[in-house]
Each structure stands twice: as C-alpha cells, then as structure tokens.
Symmetry: C2
Subunit: 503 residues, 2 copies
C-alpha cells in the first residue's frame, strides 16, 4: 500500500492526551489540516474528475436507477475514528455518488426546471467557499455585500426592470437561496405592512387573506402557512384557457372577502408557472392590487431570465406595480444553485419586518444607515458570498452571451414542439411561450403515463408530468446549459420509437 | 495583448440573428461555454490563488478598512454586453474583493463565532457545485439525500446524542443553511402541533407563547415573529449569575400564562449562548417542558461540536427531552458555511407542518414513504448537496482529528484567559466554559470600548463586544481552524501594548 492511500493515523504531538494547557500540547503544529500542496493536488484531481464527468454525463442514465436504501447500504454504519486518505474519499465519488445521482447536468434533463451551472460560476463557488466570508453585516463582508447590491443593479438595467428596484432608489435587490424563501420574505413584509407591524396570532385582528392562481407554485401556499396566515386564508383564483390568472375573478374574490370582513393583503402572480409555464397578466393584476392596496408579488423564478431579451419583455409589462419580484439565475442564467434574486420597491419594507438587532451585532456602519446589512433582508442571519458567482457569470458571458443561450433554448423548444404537433398521435396541450410545452398521447392518460415511464426508463432522457385541467401531460422543458440540437432530436427519436410499443 | 486576455467577442454562428429555428442557427456548437481545458487551467489558477491567500491572510488587516461605497466605486455602473476574459475577472479578486474582505479565515479572527473551513470541505463544495444536484426529492438526488441522512446518523453515534434522533428511529437529521432556519422549522412544527395543524391569524384561537432567556440568540425571536406569533408573545426568562436560564422562573412564567388563558407552546434553551457562551441547564428545563407539554428546542449552534469529546458531554445532559436540537458544523467542525444540523425526535412533526405536495412533485417513492423527501424538512423547496462536505470532513479528519481540533482551541482559550486573569488591569467578566471568555478593563466601559477599537484598528486581530448585565465587555472566541498558540500569544502582546495607551 503506498503512502498516499494509507489512513491518516498520525496526529500532531500532544494527542490524545490533549486535556491540559502545558508542554508541547500547545505547539504551533497544524499538520492535521490539509497542506497547501495536497490542496492543489487534490483540487486538480477534483477538477479533472468534473471534466471527466461532463465528458460522459450524457452517457449516464439521467435518473438514478437505485432503490431507497441502496446508497446507505454502501456506507459503514459509523464514521471513522482515524482520518482517511483523501484518495480513498475521492474514490467514493465513483463508487457511491455517481450511481446515486440523478443527473441535473445531463443535456437530456428536461424535467422540472433546469439547474444551470457553468465554468465561471463553479470556479466562483470554489473561491467563495475557499475565502468563506460570512456577510451577515456590511462590516463582516463589505465586498460580499456591495458586489451583491451592485450586480443586482446591473441586472435592473440589463433586464429593463422598474428603476424603483435599484438600490440607489427606494428599492434594492438581495440574493436568497430559493424562490420559496423569497416569497416568504415578501409575505412577511406584506403581513407586517397590513398589520402595522403588529401581527400575531392573538386573535383580535381582522383575518388576512392571500391570493394566487391554481397554477401558482406550491411555495406560495407554503409561505402563507409558515407565516401563520393559514391555508384556509389562501384563495385560489381561476385561470383562463391559457392557464393564466383571471384579474376579474381576483377582483371579485377580493371584494367578496372585504364584504365578509376579511383583509386582503397579498397577491402572487407568476410569469412562467411550474406546471405549464403559463403567464399571468401582470398589468391588470397589478392594477387590481394598487386599487385594493394589496401587496403584489411577481414570481418569475424560471422565466425571469428572458427579460434580458427585448423581444420577451412584453411578458413583464406592468411590473412597476410589483412590490416584490423574484427570479432565479440558478435556473436559467448559468449561475449555480443557490442564487434566487428578490427585488423590492421599498427596502424599508423588508428591513422593518425582518430586523432584530441585538447588542453583539451592533456596528457603527449600521447606525449610520450607510450600508446594507443583508441579514435584515432575509430569514437566516448568516450568508455566503453568492454574488461572486453571479458577477463572474455576467462578466464571462456578457449580456449578449446570455441572450444567445436563452434564444437558443427557445428556438430548440419551438423546433421540437413543431415535430410533436405534426405527429397525429400527440396533442400539444399547452404550447410553448418560451422554453417548455406540455403534450400527451391522444389515447389518454394511461398511455401517456406509460410513455413517460418508458422514456425515463431508457435512461436517455428525463421528463416529468403534471395535470393540466383534466389532462395528465408530459412536460418538456429545454433549459439545461449543455442541451444542443442533437440532444432534443435524439430524444424525439426515442419518443417516436417508444410510442409504437405503447400504442 | 495576448489572446487569453482579450474579451470573448466571438459567439457561435447564428448570433445575433438568433430569432428563428431554421438554418445553421441551431447548430451543435457550444463554444460560448467554458471549454474543459480552460476549466482545468482556470480552476488550477483559482486553487493557487487560494493557497496564496491562505499563505498571507495572516498578514492582511483582519477587518476590511474600507468605507461604505468604496467597493462599488471600483465597479462599472453597468455590466458588460460582451463577455470578458476569465483572467480579467480573476484579476479583480485582488483589485476588488481582497481589499473589501473581512477575513473570517484569518487565524487572528476572534470575533462573533468562527466560520470554519478546511481543505476537504472546500473540495467537496467544488464537487457539489460542479455536479449541482438539486435534492428536493429523494428521486432527484438519491445520494444527496441518503448521504445526508446517513452521515447525520454517524454524528448521533459519534456525539452520543439521543438515539431517538436516528433516522432509523422516530427521528432524523436534516442540514439547514443556518441555526435561524433550523429554529424557524422547530417553531413552525411546534405551532402546528399546538394548534392541531390549524394555525392561522383568524383570531379564534388561544394566544401562543414562546420562552427563551435574555441571552438567547436573536434568531429565536425572529423565528417567532416570522411564524406570526408576534414579539409580544415572546417571553424573556431570567438568567442566573452564570447567565444561564432559570428553570424555576421558566416554570413560573408558563404557569402565569396558563392562568391568563394563554397557551405556552415553545421553549428554547441554549448550550453556549452568543453573548457569553453560557449554558442553560438542559435537563431541568426539559423536565418543565415535558411536564407542561411544550415543545423543547435546544440551540447549540456554536458549542454543539464539543459533544464529540466525552469530557464535555455533561453540558448536554437531558438532551433526550429535546423535541428538536441544532448545532452548526459550519462554525467549529471545519465544514464550510452553510451546514447547520437540525435533529428532531419525530420526523413526522416536520413533515406534517412543512409538506405541500403538488402534482408536479409527485413521485412513486414519496407515495410509498420509503425515502426522505427533504423539501418537507425545510422552508425552501430546492437544496444543494451540502452533506458531501460534511461526509468529506468526517472521513478526512476522523472523530479523533476533530476532537484534537476542539481540545486544542479550548486549551488555547484557557491559556490566554489565564494571562488576562493575572493582569490586574483586566477583569474576566465571564470565564470560559469552552472556547470563549468575556473581559473588560477595570477602568470601565469607555476605556474598554477604546481598547477594542484600538485592537481592531491595528488590523492584527478582530474581536467584538457585547453587553453582559451592565458591563460592556470584549468577547475573545478561539475557534478559527488555523489559530495556533503563537497567534493568541501575539494578540495578547498587542492587547498589553495598547492597554498602556488607553489607561
């Protein structure tokens, strides 16, 4: 056995009698940490492992073909007492991790929504992890804080978002982990605003009511529950034939609730729903909210990135009505998860509802109000330097590069949807506005379910389903960063072939 | 100008007329992404940059000496349209990021609580970012899910935690981003349990009341507010002379609230408070909670790691009463932020309060209940593969290595505290139980404030303050992974020297 693969059984002098403070025990030896030359060597091995992964991920089954418990069975019941060689740990990336991985980075991943990555983003994550700045306060991470504020201002310009979202105006942007957390912050801010900061469950206030469509992401109802509003006060607004929220029905529900003595306080509209990528009409919904003095949140987690392209900005018409707006660069802007951007019209709304300021967190800069302390813009106190990867991505690709990426996926979607539409066995139930469409076999649910299962069982592609109205449909979403024309065409060939056996 | 430093002005064929789906526009070219050879080359450069950073971080001012706005002034007002060379972006790590960084990874960082990192953890973060599995469901990341469940079971054994926390029993563990999110999940679960899942702000239920001591972290009150309980229903329990919660006062407050018709539902005890590292008596508080049928959460965010060492386990006596328990490997277990572990006695408590299950997230495995879908154990839907770094760390160091690390820091703390105690100008206001003590100049607050400012202005160390009782004190926390004896001794020399000028 060569030295490198041996367990790391040697600890510094002093161990294991490290109980007192005298003698050699408090030496300056730090040999139990990884030496710089090992960090470089093993880090290079990790980079090469990733390159190899990317080179052959396309050939791996997209969905892991393991059963619950299979991965745990590969692991010892207790952890080691004595450290192991890094080589031995790395070897388990192949033995344990790869077989248990559903490959979000396969170019044949068309399921859910994509989770984009890119070279510059991954390397920024490495640098961020390596420096490990904790930017809870401006003072604990000035660059961590200011790059975030600044880059989110860049995006306001690049995407032609309302200028009130700029940090230099009343608003500002903040990076959250997910759209779920972003909408939770919006709900909390709306709740505090509606109750003059006196929300509680003590039972003397007017019941608050929130509104979203049947197609709205489940995270909105989850936020309503977390915030103590209760699912029973979450109203589901009707959708039209395109699965978009009906502003007239929203208006009616709000009016009815007011008559019944309840207090409408929050509306969520979606640009690009999860089920079918439907687009709620932002302007008329915003007008209802403005008239009714109700907080208006717009969720564009998946589709928000398209605002980089002028030809898609009509989808966001009326966004100036939004009190808060969210989209996820970690879905379609080649920035690693987690990176979910929340903009607000008035930063004071977030700060007033989420700030608690104990003595041990007091800083001079906070007192003067000159700097953003982002802990007051989110649920957690601590935070990573997530803006670094977004900054790297925006600079490496430039807005033109990102626009190319978006347009390419949208064009691919149209190409493949056209083929599905031309096939008489299929029905496109929801055509693509952007990069996703829903389709089914005309022979009905059981055949469509069987086809989806068959597609995924090949391991050559991964799609997921939803229910649209009464229909069980397959969602085909094109957004993985490496998906190219040949991938969608090969997948279509597979679908065509499998169809024969189902029908 | 050599090729490498030029802007990336060449996009694939088809750009910028990428509006239709015909012709060469949909080629298979993906040249706008980073090629494998560049990823390896730039990645190696990033690793070398980090090695260089670690080699000289000790010589950098620990606290960034910039003013609000300084970093933004180094950045252009809008982002680039055409992508930039990676070399140019990397160069800004030195020009922009370093001057704006408060160095949490300096061995002279004694402020707040530490944010540990280590070689194996950073490289695991690289691999996790590179594969970018999104483990919201078991199916979308079986290894991501099962390694997490399994490694958290390892820690139950290694730390001798209650066996009911094991995933194979009624409980289980989950990685959250921070202790703030962990306690929020606990509060939500407690609230739903107390109200039979019918919580809302509709005003007909008995007011819920939560309890913690004056020394409890602000995240608990923040969670109470977020959950809609309201700060006015957050009770502050008295502490004893060691700043530990008084169980008798807790019992009295609970009884008083019951008499007044309110419903006590949540108690948080802390093992190692943020201000002074005080330890609440877990067993008697747990007994009160059990008797009163109130949810008992134990927060050991900083100090929980010491349970690896048998000699410190007395601090956790009574933990079997805890309905939920939290500690942060990202503080003192050499695992990069974010990695905050939440254990619960009954996994059903979390799932029943946080699960919302729309059609597009249905999977066969969920229906059978065989696999953990961790989205139901947390606020966000999406999640990174954070268990990878914890797994790497536990294997690379082994429990013996981690125990050495903990004992070394505790011994260093005792060493330096002894010196402070021997100096007649100083008073140790709160002696160390573990790796932190609080001290002040006997001459009072203004002198102590001046001394702290002077220490931090040298750039040679970073400490922060708190208020203990009536006293303004300096906190000295030893926990940064690279802190060795010479660092604390050099810092003590600086404190001694500065003291002369203050007195």
């Amino acid at each position: 056995m060569d030295k490198a693969s041996q367990d790391r059984s040697v600890l510094p002098c002093g161990h294991p009698s490290m109980q007192s403070i005298d003698g050699c025990i408090l030496c300056d030896d730090n040999a139990f940490h990884m030496p710089a030359e090992d960090f470089l060597r093993y880090g290079t091995a990790a980079l090469e492992w990733l390159n190899s992964y990317y080179a052959h991920v396309e050939s791996l089954p997209v969905v892991a073909s393991v059963q619950p418990g299979d991965i745990r069975n590969l692991l010892p019941p207790t952890g080691p007492e004595i450290g192991e060689a890094f080589e031995k740990i790395m070897a388990d990336m192949d033995r344990v991790i790869l077989p248990g991985t559903t490959h979000w980075q396969s170019p044949n991943f068309y399921a859910y929504f994509p989770s984009n990555i890119s070279g510059p983003s991954i390397l920024a994550e490495l640098l961020s992890a390596g420096m490990s700045v904790q930017g809870m306060l401006w003072k604990t991470g000035p660059a961590c804080t200011e790059v975030e504020t600044h880059v989110l201002d860049w995006l306001v310009y690049a995407m032609d978002l309302p200028k009130s979202f700029l940090s230099t105006e009343s608003g500002g942007g903040v990076i959250q982990d997910t759209a779920s957390s972003a909408v939770l912050c919006a709900v909390i801010a709306a709740r505090e605003k509606a109750t003059d900061g006196d929300s509680n469950s003590n039972g003397l206030m007017t019941p608050l009511v929130a509104y979203a469509s049947s197609e709205t992401h489940s995270s909105v109802e989850k936020a309503i529950r977390i915030a103590g509003i209760g699912s029973k006060n979450f109203r589901v607004v009707d959708v039209d034939k395109n699965f978009a929220m009906r502003p007239d029905h929203l208006q009616k529900m709000i009016s009815d609730d007011r008559v019944a003595g309840r207090q409408p306080f929050f509306v969520c509209a979606t640009v690009g729903t999860t089920s079918s990528n439907a687009v709620d009409p932002v302007r008329p919904i915003g007008e209802v909210c403005r008239r009714e003095n109700v907080w208006f949140h717009v969720d564009a987690a998946m589709s928000g990135t398209v605002a980089l392209c002028p030809e898609h900005r009509y989808l966001f018409d009326g966004l100036e009505y939004a009190d808060s707006y969210n989209f996820n660069p970690h879905k379609w802007m080649m920035t690693n998860f987690d990176c979910s951007v929340l903009y607000v019209q008035r930063k004071s709304d977030l700060i007033e509802s989420l700030s608690i300021n104990p003595e041990y967190l007091h800083t001079k800069e906070y007192a003067t109000g000159l700097a953003a302390d982002y802990r007051d813009w989110q649920v957690p106190l601590g935070r990573r330097f997530r803006a670094l990867k977004l900054w790297f991505v925006l600079r490496y690709y430039g807005t033109e590069g990102l626009k190319y990426h978006i347009r390419y996926h949208i064009a691919l979607t149209r190409l493949i949807q056209h083929k599905v539409q031309e096939d008489p066995d299929f029905e496109v139930v929801v055509p693509a506005v952007l990069n996703m469409f829903c389709f089914r076999l005309r022979k009905g649910r059981s055949k469509t379910e069987a086809l989806l299962a068959a597609i995924n069982e090949t391991g050559r592609a991964y799609m997921t389903h939803t229910i649209i109205g009464e229909d069980y449909v397959i969602r085909w979403c094109v957004g993985q960063a490496q998906t190219r024309m040949r991938h969608v065409l090969e997948t279509w060939d597979i679908v065509q072939r499998l169809k024969q056996h189902i029908a």
